[in-house]
Each structure stands twice: as structure tokens, then as C-alpha cells.
Symmetry: C2
Subunit: 241 residues, 2 copies
């Protein structure tokens, strides 16, 4: 299962707000064994969302959007998705009933914006959050408020079909260029994904962290053993990711 | 001037490494008055980079990429850009000479990968970093190592044409839905960009932060004054962004 994340909000692009939602989703998708292939941060702009979200939805199995679903003029995620997929917005009676029950005589016209979803939207129980999660085709539409996004993600997590990814890593003092052929050959021979990440440590020279990943646990162990044989100075570092 | 950022690296999508480069570039572009319209995180995959980077370069004035320019098999940014723009990779004599001077008899074949750039690449002095910055069309190609990216960005920053953005903000205890019409009317009447960001404070009810931005300083001041008149409970909060 291949996933993509779209964060929507001018405030992220201007630096007024620092993202925490992508970070959360990245970690959770990894733990669930879902492959994440794209993260996009997009502005609160209907034409941009209309162009980018359907394109992304065609490239991956599942898209998660965050933000732009409140009652104000800068909340345009539903409008963007509706325009992009050519699905008209409609006032969902179940969402409208929830808003009326919650707000009573405090209900304003603007609140009713939150009941407008593209035709064809499925409502999924929102877990600990009373407001349902909206799913349009393969796009889960989450709110930007981190507490709400997390609760809603956890409510749909059992629907995601991942497969555990095994990972291990070694570190050594080395010049990446000198060990590059070994890394590439090991990746090919053991059919694993190898990453090489240089670090500069002041006074300690050049260090490289080499990560090995696969859905085949034995392949990871064999590749690591091979690298350790070839690189006797390598130290094992705690597995991450 | 409209900009986009592309972070390249499987390690960002798997959560093995947390981004700091987008955060840095977002803040600096804002301070320089350059409008950022997109951030993408993409995998170390030539076809993906070849598809996405030229598309993005056509949508904005300037693109900054981060990562994937080292000597190992997972460093494929140059290959992706070359494939995407149909510009063959070639061994740049100036970069090769730098590598030979730096490495001497420690030079390995893999190091020479770092001298391969798409035909038509311009080399720009890298500021405090001896290695030049590579510019291909409107794409600045930066390394992923944060210290190097920062030095190289600062070296090219004087080339960017921004215009100062003025910003101010107020906060109040309110339901976003109740003030939504006021916000939209104020945005239209004063020709400013207004953002509305709800916060949940435990025990303190619903708070909203309202931001007002424009390249016209007087318009920001007038819109803020108008909002404060209409929302007497608003408190001024320190301007951000």
C-alpha cells in the first residue's frame, strides 16, 4: 500500500505555524508498514488543490489531507477536492444534523460550511471524536488541529494494509565515496534498500550511517552481516525507523 | 517572486531523519519577502524526480532542491533533473578539478559522480563553502546536509527578488463560525490576506488567532484596527511571520 500526505495551509508555507501533522503521519505509516511516497504542502487555494489532489490520488493508493476544513473563508479543502474531481459540493444531512445538535441557537451560516462535502463522500466514525471522518474516493480528509487529526487517523488505521518493514543500521568513520561501490553491490545482491547518510562531527572527521531495510527480515540480517565483514570498523547503532 | 522547495530523500519519508531544511528555507524566504507556494518531499527515485521537478519549475519562478547529491547509489537528484529536462549529464571539468585537488590519490570513481551535472548547469560561488552551488535553469540544487544548505542558500539569497510582507495578529476567545463573515468581509474590503487559526486551550475554551498580512503596511494597520473595533475582546498578540 502506497500513501501520500497533503498538508494544506498558507500558515505552513509562511512559517507562521510549524508542521506536526506530517511528522505524526510519517511515523505512524512507517510503524504500520505503509510506504509513503510523497508529502506536499499546498496553499489555501482552490485551483491549486483541484489540480494537485486528484493527480496525487491517481499516483498512490491512499491520500491523507490535513487542514482547511473549518468554517472560515480560508478553509477551502472541500471546495478544492470537489472542483478537482468534478463532484459537486452538497450539504450532507448527517453532518448538518450534528452541527445543529451541537450548536443549537448558536449555529451560524458559516458553521454550515462544515457540512458541505463532495458528492460521493463516505462518513466513517471518528473514533473518540464525535465528528465523523470524511473519505472521498481514496482521500481521507482530516482536520489540521493536531489532536483531532491524530484521533481520526487512529480511527481509520485498522483499514490500512501495511506489511512490516525491518530495518537495521551501522555507523562508521569513512568517506562515503570510498564505500559507495560496496553499498550498491550489497543492495543489489541482498535485495534490500540501503541508505547512506554522511554526518559531520566536529573533531571526529566524516561519519557515515548506513541503513538497511526490507520486508524480509532475514535479508536485512544477511546484508548487515555482509557489510560488517567488509567494514570491520563499523559499529552497530540502535535500529531506527 | 514565487518559490517552491523540494526535499529529496527516502529517509525523510520513512521518518529516519526529520527535516530541518524546509523549516530553514521557509523562514528565510519569508524574511526575504519571497512567496513560497509549494513544498514537496520526494523519494530517491529517478522517474519521480524527472516527472515532478520540471513540472514544478514551470509553475513557479524558482525551485530549491535539497539532498541526493552525494557519491552513493541513492544520490540521484542530478540524474532525475537531467532525465526530466532532457539535458544529458556530463562531467563538469571545473567540478572534477575541484574533486581531484581535494582528494588527491584518495579519489575514487564514486567521487566523480559528484562532478556529473546536467548540461546547461551554471556554477555559482558557494559562499563560505568552496564547492560551488549548482543552478540548472530556475532550479537551485542544494545538498541535504543542513550546514552546507544554509551556507549555499545565503550565498545566493541576494539574487532573490522579494518584497517585504507586513504581518500583524490578534487573538480572542471566540467561535470561528461566529466571526467568519467579519473576517471574509475585512479581507475583501482592506485587500489583505486574513488567516484564522483555532486553538484549543484546556479549561480556557475556544481561542482564535487571526493573522493579517499584506505588502501594504497601511492596509495591515487599517484592517487590524477595523477588527479590533468589531471584536472588543481581542488582545493584540506579538506579530509573527
Amino acid at each position: 500500500m502506497i500513501a501520500a500526505i497533503v498538508l494544506i495551509g498558507d500558515e505552513l508555507l509562511s512559517g507562521k505555524v510549524q508542521d506536526v501533522n506530517a511528522r505524526y503521519l510519517i511515523e505512524r505509516l512507517r510503524a504500520l508498514g505503509v510506504d509513503l511516497r510523497r508529502v506536499l504542502i499546498l496553499p489555501d487555494d482552490v485551483p491549486t488543490l483541484a489540480e494537485e489532489i486528484p493527480r496525487l490520488a491517481a499516483q498512490v493508493d491512499v491520500v491523507f489531507t490535513s487542514g482547511g476544513v473549518g468554517p472560515t473563508h480560508d478553509d477551502v479543502t472541500m471546495e478544492g477536492i470537489a472542483a478537482g474531481f468534478g463532484a459537486p459540493l452538497f450539504q450532507h444531512p448527517e453532518l448538518e444534523a450534528l452541527l445543529r445538535a451541537r450548536r443549537g441557537d448558536q449555529l451560524r451560516e458559516a458553521h454550515l460550511r462544515m457540512a458541505r462535502v463532495p458528492e460521493g463522500t463516505t462518513l466513517i466514525p471518528g473514533g473518540v471524536i464525535r465528528w465523523p471522518t470524511t473519505l472521498f474516493r481514496n482521500v481521507y480528509i482530516f482536520p489540521g488541529i493536531p489532536e483531532l487529526l491524530r484521533a481520526k487517523f487512529e480511527a481509520i488505521a485498522p483499514r490500512l494494509q501495511g506489511a512490516r518493514i525491518y530495518a537495521d543500521a551501522i555507523e562508521l568513520e569513512a568517506d562515503e565515496g570510498a564505500i559507495a561501490p560496496l553499498l550498491e553491490a550489497t543492495q543489489d545482491d541482498f535485495n534490500v534498500a540501503i541508505g547512506s547518510y554522511p554526518r559531520f562531527s566536529e573533531g571526529a572527521g566524516l561519519w557515515v550511517r548506513i541503513t538497511v531495510e526490507s520486508r524480509d527480515e532475514a535479508a536485512v540480517a544477511a546484508a548487515i552481516a555482509h557489510l560488517r565483514d567488509a567494514l570491520p570498523s563499523a559499529t552497530r547503532s540502535p535500529p531506527e525507523g
